[in-house]
Symmetry: C2
């Protein structure tokens, strides 16, 4: 079984899922997600900004971002890339940092699955959590509107690529 | 750059390393490490025992063990396989469980590197930690003697395969 076919079944008690068909092809979504200069353009729901981004696109590589709040406060994140199947699947987690080093306070693993759909993409993003409490906290923080707005921004930006 | 050549540089403040040349070939070490019925025979330094083991040998797959103390207390562990390069490299972590789900209390990532050395193997096992405190705790728990004794047991058992 290839990695991309080893499908993950989200647990509704523990995980959050954003699924949508968008009218940009998988290749452009992949580009927007995996190249720092592109990711910075859409990753944070405005008026938040992504001011820095570093991606070492291989299992064990760093996935670093700095998100800046409207008040100017910086929130750095240092995660680890886990799986890379070009144009199809990207998995990273904040439970580890680069080189698979465990992080002190794990919050989630993010799994992105891209499937061709007509001229566009069936886009599935899954946030995988340790517990029901953390899932609820993420939901209350605004997972659906936040990730949805970021996806709107991705689509708008990807069309300019 | 292939995964196996993306070498990891241990940080002496954060990581612990066991390196030894052993007189069994990489193929047998791999077998002893990746097949549950074999792993159970050597994984816990006696008189501890490994009573259960489940390994789904792919990135994202479960790595489960139950270790039993001499007093009969069971210590279940549920980690996640991260990298699999047959006969060469195995990486798993307890910062995630199967399906890349973050674990509540991450302790370490274990990286095993096997290189042919004559008719034997240069065996390198690296325990990767979040902080100097956790590295020290692991050292005080007896990393070197524990992992060393388990490796003695592996060598003895692998020769019977």
């Amino acid at each position: 079984m290839s990695q991309k076919n080893a499908s993950f079944k989200p647990d509704p008690n523990l995980d959050l899922v954003l699924e949508r068909v968008i009218d940009v092809p998988p290749e452009l979504v992949w580009k927007a997600w995996t190249e720092p200069e592109h990711l910075k353009k859409w990753f944070s729901p405005r008026p938040w900004m992504t001011t820095e981004c570093e991606i070492d696109l291989r299992p064990g590589g760093s996935f670093k971002t700095v998100m800046r709040s409207p008040e100017g406060q910086d929130f750095p994140g240092h995660g680890c890339i886990l799986e890379v199947v070009k144009n199809e699947k990207l998995v990273w987690t904040d439970a580890l940092s680069g080189g698979y080093r465990p992080n002190g306070e794990p919050f989630m693993t993010a799994m992105l699955i891209l499937e061709p759909s007509g001229k566009g993409t069936k886009y599935t993003a899954i946030a995988i959590h340790t517990s029901e409490d953390i899932r609820k906290k993420h939901e209350e923080m605004g997972f659906h509107s936040g990730w949805g707005t970021a996806l709107d921004q991705l689509v708008e930006y990807a069309k300019s690529l």
